[in-house]
Amino acid sequence: MIDLREHLQELADAAARHGDTPGPAAAISRGRQRRRRIAGVVAAVLAVALAVSSGVTGRLVGSSDLPATAPVTTLPPLPELDFLGEWPASPADEAAGLQMEREERRCPGGLTKGGNLIVHFRSAEYRRLVMIGGKPPASGETKVCWAVGVFDLEDGAGKLSRPVRPVSIAIPLTADLDEGAGYGAVYGQVDKRAYRVRVRFRDQPILDVPVIQAANQYLVNFYVGLFPPGWEPIEVTAFDPEDRRLAGCAVDPSVGALPRCPGK
């Protein structure tokens, strides 16, 4: 029987002796280049968003006094989310999912069959893995229990942006804010009829976020939008597929939440 430890150690010693890495200065330089590359991608995305939203902003000013059911006819196309397939899609995905599961167990009544990961997707721009998990309301229940987590795409480290908390299914739109290293996040539950959620920032372009379809038993859908750190969301509005306004509310950054949600 071969000695696995001995031969693995021999391989490791040989690799350490003969391996040739460019050194710490090269690692630092490569790290800086990577950071600049990511910043460049973010800047390019922002430039496109700015170009799109400058036209949209003008249109919204003109339509703000219209009744709630008035169509907004020319909203820009929604960005596509990079949904991950079957869980776990990677070691990071697995680590993040286990953290989510631990949280979901705190839902009232514990985690039952059917309570699980609602969706997981990645954001290449922000190097984040986003998860929404929860427990559908039981028959007759009027609250849905859910949590959102934003994790590091590479190692799954991170935190739950929103610990589980049951929310009334009657609320058509909620929004919470979170800020981590290199990103800000706005997320919430939204009426099943919603198709997009529009986030307006102070002195920044508009961000349109696609609504994430949860299974029917959840009775609500969800959304998560990531944005550059330092941006200050001031208003969140949900639209249906015909671009009719369903609900909206104003953000109070001082409390990191939307005290006036649901909107008027």
Binding site: R5, A12, T21, A27, I28, G31, L98
Partner: protein
């Protein structure tokens, strides 16, 4: 304090060890060099935070392991094709037995390979292997058992190689 203060010392003190740990996982020295260097480059951008960790080396190892797994998944078909048609992977001079082990490890799924290296080479207990790979201890035990069985078969051994965890 400069953002990179202490990074050079950390790099110099750990790069050889990490390279040695990643080589049996990748089976190719150049590939191991690449993932280790990339992991260090990522560590450099967050060194201000990492240097306060109890074991920043464990963070770099975990990132390097993840990178190795990602690259394996993304490119395994192309790499397999290249290996069939092109030069053999870069391997430092080792004994015949160790060389056979490199080839046998290469036939294991990447997660089994990682578990075996972390447990038998890095000497991590099963629980820490599980934490590093982001999975459960039971899964790691299963990977280790299956990995040992496959290695034994590949190496022509009558029973499992190594010792059970």
């Amino acid at each position: 304090m400069a953002d990179s203060e202490g990074f050079e010392e950390f790099y110099t003190g750990t790069v050889g060890r990490l390279l040695g740990q990643l080589f049996p996982v990748t089976g190719d020295l150049h590939e191991a060099e690449e993932v280790v260097q990339e992991a260090f480059s990522r560590a450099s951008t967050r060194w201000r935070r990492l240097r306060d960790y109890d074991a920043p080396e464990a963070w770099v190892r975990r990132v390097a392991m993840n990178l190795a797994a990602d690259r394996h998944r993304r490119h395994h078909r192309q790499i397999a094709a290249l290996h069939r048609a092109g030069p053999p992977p870069s391997v430092p001079p080792v004994s015949v037995e160790a060389l056979a082990l490199v080839h046998a490890l290469g036939t294991l799924p990447i997660r089994q390979r990682q578990a075996i290296v972390l447990h038998y080479l890095v000497d991590l207990p099963v629980e820490e292997v599980a934490a590093t790979l982001g999975t459960r201890s039971g899964t790691v035990k299963s990977w280790l058992a299956r990995g040992r069985r496959t290695l034994a078969a590949r190496l022509g051994e009558p029973e499992e190689v190594g010792n059970a965890p």
